[in-house]
């Protein structure tokens, strides 16, 4: 008998009132943090997760870099939430495909959308569809074993790569490209990525930013890690840092420490000896991609960059404008890492500026016959910040939900009992939490054989099979 079933039998005697039915769409951090708050603060609630993939945890599993296992420890807190008797997971169920939003709203008291921001933003410039111009997010999905990215076409046989964008994801991509392969082998990075990266010839990675050193989006921890990377020298352009030192004293602590670290590295970079075996990490600033240069096979050979300059009085809040100067960066591999946007998973979802607008998380509460609709996480805030910020936002929204759900009694809702009837017409393959635990165990076993913490299953079909074993 499953652990969960025992627990449910044990607990059921204490539940008096029929529980309020909550559906959370998307089992990433936003969903789990909301569930954590709801289970803690409501006496009688039943929470059903509906998740597109057969497996939980969203970007913790498929975004966070494999060499950052510590960040993934939060999975332990989420697992505790999922094991609550009144929390259920239904993986391999997609909103907008297997089930419609209005159907969920009919059969639940509250529906919370937390399905993230999965699509990558495009630059909209010439030759963006060229070979070896790759969305950073797809590369991340590829090394992390996301089923839809497992067959990514990438050619790592060139020496120079450019990453367009200067956020933490850009740094993740740079670090994975520049890390000694034996370090990566010990992580849960997928085998297909390890074997491709082992043959990689990439030795030089540019990190191209539109604005200056005072505006970078990456955070200090990620930069420090990159600067400490074995066998890799960081080369800055001295000219990019003109006058930067002068404003350091006026900056707020986080920006100040980050800028000081860059300046320190800049001053040290002159001293580093050139080593034939060394890799190079080269951040460059004030450059916007104008178009990709391609060869006769429509494969990228370079990026034409427009040089920008900053205007305005105070260096800290200057604006960036293009000049007439151009520069060509020769490279045969380019990653686009300029942000993400959410998709409209269901026709009934309203969108504004790439996210679902809400009032403190409340999207729609106008129809008393339908579940109130809420949003949290990247779908509601836009794809910004780290897990901490997603957590804060989800707690805030869940708090509002709690207030509403403890209010007046409403009609009893059928919850998943009803939803299941609709889904099973076309899809009998949903994976519950016990199914995920089987997948988890299997992946850890497969990893053991390879000396890694885990080897992820990269096919949906295989996941379903293992979940039923």
């Amino acid at each position: 008998m499953s652990y969960k079933l025992v627990k449910r039998m044990f607990c059921s005697s204490t539940i008096k009132k029929p529980p309020r039915q909550v559906c959370i769409v998307g089992a990433g951090p936003a969903g789990f943090y909301a569930a954590m708050h709801l289970t803690k603060n409501l006496d009688s609630v039943n929470i059903d997760f509906i998740e597109k993939l057969p497996v939980p945890f969203g970007l913790i599993r498929y975004g966070v870099a494999p060499d950052h296992p510590e960040v993934k420890n939060v999975i332990n807190q989420f697992t505790k939430v999922a094991r609550h008797a009144n929390v259920n997971f239904y993986g391999n169920v997609t909103l907008g495909k297997d089930i419609q939003l209005h159907q969920l709203r009919q059969h639940y008291d509250a529906v919370l959308l937390t399905y993230g921001a999965e699509e990558d933003k495009v630059l909209g410039i010439e030759n963006e569809d060229a070979g070896n111009v790759i969305a950073a997010r797809s590369f991340v999905g590829w090394y992390n074993g996301l089923p839809s990215d497992k067959d990514l076409k990438i050619d790592l046989s060139c020496k120079t790569a450019a990453i367009l964008g200067q956020g933490n994801v850009a740094l993740d991509v740079a670090r994975i490209l520049l890390s000694p392969i034996d370090e990566l082998r010990k992580t849960d990075i997928t085998e297909h990525a390890v074997s491709a990266l082992a043959k990689s010839k990439v030795k030089e990675v540019y990190l191209v930013g539109r604005r200056g050193p005072l505006q970078v989006a990456f955070t200090i921890k990620e930069l420090r890690e990159q600067l400490k990377l074995k066998n890799c020298s960081t080369i800055w352009r001295k000219k990019d840092f003109e006058h930067v030192e002068d404003v350091v004293p006026n900056l707020e602590r986080p920006r100040k420490r980050l800028t000081e670290l860059m300046l320190k590295s800049l001053n040290e970079s002159g001293k580093s000896v050139d080593d034939l075996n060394s890799n190079y990490f080269k951040p460059i600033f004030f450059r916007s991609p104008k178009k990709f240069i391609v060869d006769s096979n429509h494969k990228v050979t370079g990026v034409e960059l427009t040089c920008n300059k900053l205007v305005g009085e105070k260096l800290e809040d200057q604006k960036c404008i293009p000049t007439h100067e151009q520069e060509i960066l020769n490279c045969n591999l380019v990653f686009r890492s300029i942000g993400y946007k959410s998709i409209k998973a269901d026709n009934d979802i309203m969108f504004l500026n790439g996210l679902v607008p809400s009032n403190k998380g409340v999207v729609d509460d106008s129809n008393p016959d339908l579940a109130k609709l809420y949003v949290s996480g990247w779908l509601g805030t836009g794809p910004v910040g780290v897990i901490l910020h997603t957590m804060g936002n989800s707690f805030q929204v869940a708090k509002v939900m709690c207030e509403h759900l403890t209010g007046a009694d409403t009609k009893i809702k059928g919850g998943f009992q009803e939803i299941k009837k609709i889904i099973s017409v076309n899809n009998n393959n949903f994976v519950d939490w016990d199914g995920w635990e089987k997948i988890d165990k299997y992946e850890i076993e497969q990893g053991k054989k390879l000396g890694k913490p885990r080897e992820k299953i990269c096919s949906i079909q295989k996941m379903i099979e293992v979940s039923r074993a």
Partner: protein, 158 residues
């Protein structure tokens, strides 16, 4: 009880990983499993009182073992501080952010290392007496320590 000890060890060895930067968790885990020393067990017998003061004024008073970190105290006593310690003391998040009184901050034996400061830089409402709870180890000296827990509910857009 046994569970608690195991938990403690895990939290500690993970912390070691954070500091050593790069040791695979499995290795350092084994290392510290082998070295649960008698002194450590003896230290555990010594108790101090600590109080966590939440944003809404609620006071969570608890007995804690000397040698434990503030994160251990929250976990082992099941204190209701939501989302506290997401990365389990490995210096890769700032969910265990706390404010201290200036005098308490000053008398802590260790100053925050660069990695702790890096994570604090991401925390909400960073102050001059901010620390990460996972990096503060209780000593007999700290009996009666009062810790302010900041608001976690915040809007990511701000």
């Amino acid at each position: 009880m046994l569970r608690n000890i195991v938990k403690n060890i895990t939290a500690k060895s993970l912390r070691a990983v954070g500091k050593n930067n790069g040791l695979p968790p499995s290795l350092s885990h084994q290392r510290s499993l082998a070295s649960v020393s008698k002194t450590e067990l003896a230290l555990k017998a010594e108790k101090v009182k600590v109080t966590f003061v939440l944003k809404d004024g609620k006071r969570l008073e608890t007995e804690a073992k000397v040698g434990d970190t503030l994160l251990d105290v929250v976990v082992n006593n099941d204190l209701n501080i939501e989302g506290y310690g997401a990365c389990e003391g490995t210096l890769t998040c700032s969910t265990c952010h706390v404010f201290l009184k200036q005098s308490d901050y000053d008398r802590l034996p260790e100053e925050p290392c660069d990695e702790e400061r890096d994570m604090l830089d991401l925390a909400y409402g960073l102050t001059d007496t901010s620390r990460l709870g996972c990096q503060i180890t209780l000593t007999k000296d700290l009996d009666g320590l009062e810790i302010q827990v900041p608001e976690t509910i915040n809007d990511a857009r701000n």
